[in-house]
C-alpha cells in the first residue's frame, strides 16, 4: 500500500455527494502543484468527478486516493477510486460511449478514459472495482 503524506496526497472516503466535491478539490490542488496546464487540470478533475460519482452511485461508496507522482523527470497526479461494490460484468460494454446500466449518460468511463494520459480499470463481479488514472505535466 502506498503511503502518502499530507502535502503530496490524500485518501478520502466517497460516501456522499459532498465527498465527490472534496475529491475534485483534492485533485485540482495537486494538479496545480504538479503544474499541469489549465486544460489538463480541467480534464483530470472532470475525469475524477466522473469516477468518484461511479464509486458512489454504482459501487455503493468507497474511497479515493490522490497523490503526486513522478515518472522520470515528469511530475504528475494519480488518482485511484476503489469500492467493494457489485463490480462490472461486461467491461467492454461499460466502456462503450453512451452505455449506462441506468440513470446516467454513459459517458463517465469512456469519456474519462479519453481525458487522461493513463487509465486502468480492475473489476471483479461480486468483489469490487478499482479505477486508476494519471496525468503528467508536459
Amino acid at each position: 500500500m502506498t503511503t502518502t503524506s499530507p502535502t503530496t496526497g490524500t485518501r478520502q472516503p466517497v460516501r456522499d455527494d459532498s465527498d465527490v466535491v472534496r475529491v475534485r478539490q483534492a485533485v485540482r490542488r495537486l494538479a496545480q502543484q504538479a503544474r499541469l496546464s489549465l486544460v489538463d487540470q480541467t480534464k483530470l478533475v472532470t475525469a475524477a468527478s466522473e469516477l468518484a460519482r461511479n464509486t458512489l452511485v454504482h459501487g455503493g461508496g468507497g474511497e479515493a486516493e490522490v497523490e503526486l507522482v513522478t515518472s522520470g523527470l515528469r511530475t504528475g497526479v494519480r488518482a485511484v477510486f476503489s469500492d467493494q461494490g457489485p463490480g462490472i460484468a461486461d467491461l467492454d460494454l461499460a466502456l462503450t460511449d453512451g452505455w449506462t446500466s441506468g440513470g446516467g449518460l454513459g459517458l463517465g468511463l469512456s469519456g474519462s478514459r479519453r481525458l487522461v494520459e493513463h487509465f486502468a480499470i480492475d473489476t471483479t463481479p461480486g468483489v469490487g472495482t478499482r479505477v486508476e488514472i494519471a496525468a503528467w505535466a508536459r
Binding site: 455527494d17 459532498s18 465527490v20 478539490q25 480534464k43 460519482r53 446516467g104 449518460l105 479519453r114
Partner: protein, 133 residues
C-alpha cells in the same frame, strides 16, 4: 448542499452559478428553475457558468434538461460564460449539449433573448426591402 439563487430581470430568469456544484444541488436547481418558469411566466433563462471549473456529465445533463424543459414551458435557455478549458474538456468527454443555446457572456445572452432581437432583424429586413424597392 448549497443553494443557487435565481434572479428575475424583466421576463428573464438569471442564474449565476458561483458555488461548487454537488449533484444534489444540481438536481435542486433543475427543479427550482422549472417551478420558477411556470410561476413567473418567464420567457427566457440565462445560466451563467463562468464560475464553473468543470462541467461533467451530470452538470451537462442538467443544462440540457433545463433547456428542454424550458422549451416545453415556452421559454428559451441560454448558457453563457463557459470557460475555454471547460469547452475543450466537454467535447472530449463526449458531451454535445445538443439543443442548448450558448453565448459568450450575460450581455450577449440577454441580447439573444430580447424580444427586440427579432424586431432588429425585421428592421434590417425592412431596410433591405426598402433598398431593393
Amino acid at each position: 448542499m448549497n443553494e443557487v439563487p435565481i434572479l428575475k430581470i424583466g421576463s428573464t430568469l438569471l442564474v449565476s452559478i458561483q458555488v461548487e456544484l454537488q449533484d444534489d444541488t444540481v438536481l435542486q436547481l433543475q427543479e427550482d428553475l422549472a417551478a420558477r418558469i411556470t410561476r413567473t411566466g418567464a420567457r427566457g433563462v440565462i445560466i451563467d457558468i463562468s464560475g464553473l471549473e468543470i462541467v461533467d456529465s451530470f452538470i451537462g445533463r442538467m443544462l440540457a434538461s433545463v433547456a428542454a424543459v424550458s422549451r416545453v414551458l415556452d421559454a428559451r435557455t441560454v448558457v453563457v460564460g463557459m470557460r475555454p478549458a471547460v469547452a475543450i474538456t466537454m467535447v472530449e468527454l463526449g458531451l454535445g449539449l445538443h439543443g442548448v443555446q450558448t453565448a459568450l457572456d450575460v450581455d450577449r445572452g440577454l441580447a439573444l433573448l430580447s424580444p427586440d432581437s427579432g424586431a432588429a432583424e425585421d428592421v434590417l429586413l425592412a431596410a433591405v426591402e426598402r433598398d431593393a424597392g
